[in-house]
Symmetry: D2
Subunit: 135 residues, 4 copies
Amino acid sequence: MNARCLIEVAFSLRWRDLDAFEHVNNSSFLTFLEESRLRWFMGLDGDWNTSQFMPVVAAVHVNYRAQLGWPGDILVRLYCERAGNSSLTLAHRIVGADPSETLYCDGNVVMVWVDPATGKPAPLPEAVRRASSSD
Amino acid sequence: MNARCLIEVAFSLRWRDLDAFEHVNNSSFLTFLEESRLRWFMGLDGDWNTSQFMPVVAAVHVNYRAQLGWPGDILVRLYCERAGNSSLTLAHRIVGADPSETLYCDGNVVMVWVDPATGKPAPLPEAVRRASSSD
Amino acid sequence: MNARCLIEVAFSLRWRDLDAFEHVNNSSFLTFLEESRLRWFMGLDGDWNTSQFMPVVAAVHVNYRAQLGWPGDILVRLYCERAGNSSLTLAHRIVGADPSETLYCDGNVVMVWVDPATGKPAPLPEAVRRASSSD
Amino acid sequence: MNARCLIEVAFSLRWRDLDAFEHVNNSSFLTFLEESRLRWFMGLDGDWNTSQFMPVVAAVHVNYRAQLGWPGDILVRLYCERAGNSSLTLAHRIVGADPSETLYCDGNVVMVWVDPATGKPAPLPEAVRRASSSD
């Protein structure tokens, strides 16, 4: 991953993130990605969610690389993989917050901006495009 | 998808499946898939989870095809996409439980069986292989 | 509990309702109560949630009477314990969906209607008052 | 509350803690309490969960004092309200992590130690009794 990291968000795992197999449940990783993405959106210099356009999750591709326990702290790093006309593909790496930075999860999430009134694709917001471009 | 459906599980959505955008959250779909998969495992004629081998989620690939609201009922259908030496790729389709069967989600989940003591891959359990083969 | 049952809602437990102690997590019971309450609200003959008034949870009192496992089916029954000027106290009983009806949980939840604009208490909606009165 | 604070745990709220009413869901508060309790348990100088005794939640009493939004940071403070033969009543206060310390939630949770083999009450573990006593 040569791309510039857009944001790094630290998470303190919750015991409730564990499932009955005593590992952080596969669905919790999507919650960590969502949180990181939204914090990046909220830091943008401009609109990303209005009555004219809003982002929806179109696809997730997640590789689980190691089992994650509790208690623990992780870092989620997001990268721009591709900015399309209406879509943004955000790659991610979730690593341990310790110096060894064990890789727990990588992959990407595809967001698409839509017009809430029609459900049709809307142009990628300008602030999103600016912030996700690599330089 | 020509493959034989391995199991169909009905879900009644919960209001708590919604997020603050008033759609069923992207992470809830993984919970529906997990539940369906486990129910299929539990119906197998043989072991799928022992002190020698247990399944872990290695990867998920999920396409969100339409926004899902509450209240509502859905059907999750699982199909065998590939049975490997240690892994099983289960394709899925999540549709509305009404006659139109609106497609909300498709994709697949890759499970890998591992030896809990070592974390190394273990052979696909015989009962899983038998039940997932197509005819 | 002599009060008339306002609604009975059946739930199929999800594996994700379990926590790492392999019991349905204490927080999931609040989700079952919430779902049951909302389904009762939605069946009322009149408004319960508008731009002038909305219900908020003011207090929960929950006794966990037996440990609940997975898979399993439960029934949530709600009763009116008290209808005040702005508040409604809904008692509950959560039992197994089998003939023995093992009691897993009882207690009550206090809802208060507020004006979303001011956060101040609003009168109990007429439809709620009518439906919760005992005869 | 004159009692000594047993532990204070900081939480960064997650967007997924919100529900479709855009407030932190009532069930998430139980997750914050559980996390705080477990972290206190894990810091004890002695056993609190063994094959002979384990804690279960017997009752929760929660007052929701103000609506909580996202993003935000909160502090959970636990206090010993009563240490019985087999039970421990932990009072709590959940406040904003800002200087005004807005009160969002108070109440208590009753834990009971049981013998996992029989489900019968077990004596309060010595380490729990020591750490919860007020001086």
